[in-house]
Symmetry: D3
Subunit: 148 residues, 6 copies
């Protein structure tokens, strides 16, 4: 697939990043926007492992500064919003006997025209949710966006 | 943008359809898959208007049979799941003083290899959510998938 | 249908009362148990009207003392629990474009062996929930039980 | 108790089945309606065990076809709706320090006049919820209905 | 800090008790009001341990009678309401990868002018919620009030 | 009541501010901390009016910059968290037939030792919730804290 145009919609970019993979955004485009991003995968029946996988990826890839709580806090609530789109209603996975297999993307940058708006963070999760049996599952997506 | 490959992931297709518009799926591809789809837009502070707009579009475009309750029921729960991704937690919009501007897509078809799985329905909503003031908003997505 | 045996399960009795109607409990049986009960009907798209109809019936039939807040409070939370069974997840009806047609029963009495347990209240709602179109609906039940 | 009249209300029948036991529906009546049903019991502090017990019973008794995902999916959401009536608000049991002792019924069939409506599934849970101490509990019910 | 005036607002008193400690209410004042109270601390990633710590304190300090279910029931729902203020939305702690460090207070008494209102119970939780890393946390409060 | 010591706990200060009124924090203390604060009152059956009253107060008193979305966004989510403590479970007031009479406080400042943490916002709501009848109500509190 040809690279899509990276515009300033951070959520849309996060969604396409998780659907199409990292090759779809050129390094050059991100540099121009001064955005940071990373992707990863997590499969689990435990919600806390999903949260942890995304937090770890964000720290390892320098998306957030681990020692600054406001950054952890911004990311955390973006993650919970994204997970809540995935689970639709109750942020529960294994405790209601289902499992998820998810890819995720994280983007940090300013999607607004005004510089005053500063950085925002978008977390997108996409994959499958279903019974803990291969194939008994359907797709799911979640997006969380927060100022950071 | 070049047309993306329509594979059997009905949720992914619904997401790309709402992000990239109808031109991105050729009529031919959908015919091969025997899938039906439509798109639309709705902006409102009232959750029930969002639900109604999607239901109306689905009926007008022949995605569901209006007189068959099981089809209305399948669509309804897919919509509520999608809205719940958009609102993350409470299916409320104006009653918590926010507004949405959404595009939506609906696809009906069998995303599984086995013919026994029959038709499924995917509803995807993408757009903005925020204060009832232009620009004070961020992006949001929701996807609901149900057997029909 | 023959009258069922009224045992001390106040919730079960409330359920059967709403399913089978008042004739199924003899006045004598209730007098022996020192229980009070009433039934009613309410159809609406507005949650608050459902709550109001049950509160009004409870007061008119002397199930609770209107001037005593602890009784209103006990009843209120029993109603919300019952409605939440009916709506499953979000205590919303018209705001998510659906309507309910419900029968309800209210019973007050002590379902426990020990006199110390005092009075409890059971509110049961049973009927249909669905699209605001006759026939596009399925059944639903909710039961709320509280000490009073 | 005399057998009650089995009418086409699948939810009401599921409720009475769980309250009165299997002897209350004659095999003949069910055969006429072409409905399938089973009952069972589950007591647990873990929501996932409640879900699993019902899924297992449904498969063992031939109510759903285990290999067909749309059937598992229909049953799953009916179960979650039923559990959500039991727990009223949060689909959590032990994680909020309470336990349930439940009987359940599952019925599959067409409750509507039109043959087009196909099969629906009703899951009813009834029993007690409360502190993990015998007697410190009250009754609870939940009903989930889905097209299958 | 000087002792604040204990008025009949049981919730306000419970809040100040947890914020300022027990020395702020003189034993004499409580005796006049015929109110009972206690305080404690609990830190955990498991919601059920928070519930258990408060229940244990209430029983040990004679706030409720352990053998009377209506008292346990009243306390339980007050606790869940308080925890739900702390967690805001989902009564989940460790399962969404966060931890709490809480002080709590429990007060039992009649906050209303009329003697008919009988006893009520107030449970207040105050402390921090955040990542399971010291310092990556912010404050939180919750208050549950119930008739007993 | 004597002025309490303003320490760096922004949530605790917001709670005491709403309970004890503005006189309890000296202007001097706030100036030293470089914190901004305001208080107000709102009574309503409509959740959106509660949100609007707090947003308006925050803007009128210069707590947030109305033209900067990240500030509106931070405040909005702090308000929803606070309201969710008040309503415990469903952010609904009149739609479940209850009303609130609330005082609120808003504080903006850095409660952490590190300057890097920047500003945070605390919104505290305290008052009564209950039936729309004077006196049939009990106390309630909610606190929302967010980075800004
Ligand atoms: Mg937070
Ligand atoms: Mg339904
Ligand atoms: Mg209450
Ligand atoms: Mg599903
Ligand atoms: Mg209870
Ligand atoms: Mg937001």
């Amino acid at each position: 697939m040809a690279a899509f145009r990276v515009d300033n919609r951070i959520g849309r970019t996060a969604i396409l990043l998780v659907l199409n993979g990292e090759e779809c955004i050129s390094k050059e485009q991100l540099r121009q926007l001064k955005w940071k991003s990373c992707t990863g995968k997590v499969g689990s029946m435990e919600s806390q492992k999903v949260v942890a996988a995304i937090e770890t990826a964000a720290k390892k890839n320098g998306i957030i500064q681990p020692g600054v709580y406001r950054e952890t806090h911004a990311l955390y609530h973006a993650i919970i919003d994204a997970v809540s789109g995935v689970t639709r209603g109750q942020v529960q996975i294994g405790s209601v006997l289902r499992t998820v297999g998810l890819s995720f993307s994280i983007i940090r940058g300013n999607p607004y025209e005004s510089e005053q708006e500063g950085d925002w963070i978008a977390v997108c999760l996409y994959g499958t949710i279903g019974a803990p049996v291969k194939g008994l599952e359907h797709e799911t997506i979640g997006l969380g966006i927060n100022h950071i």
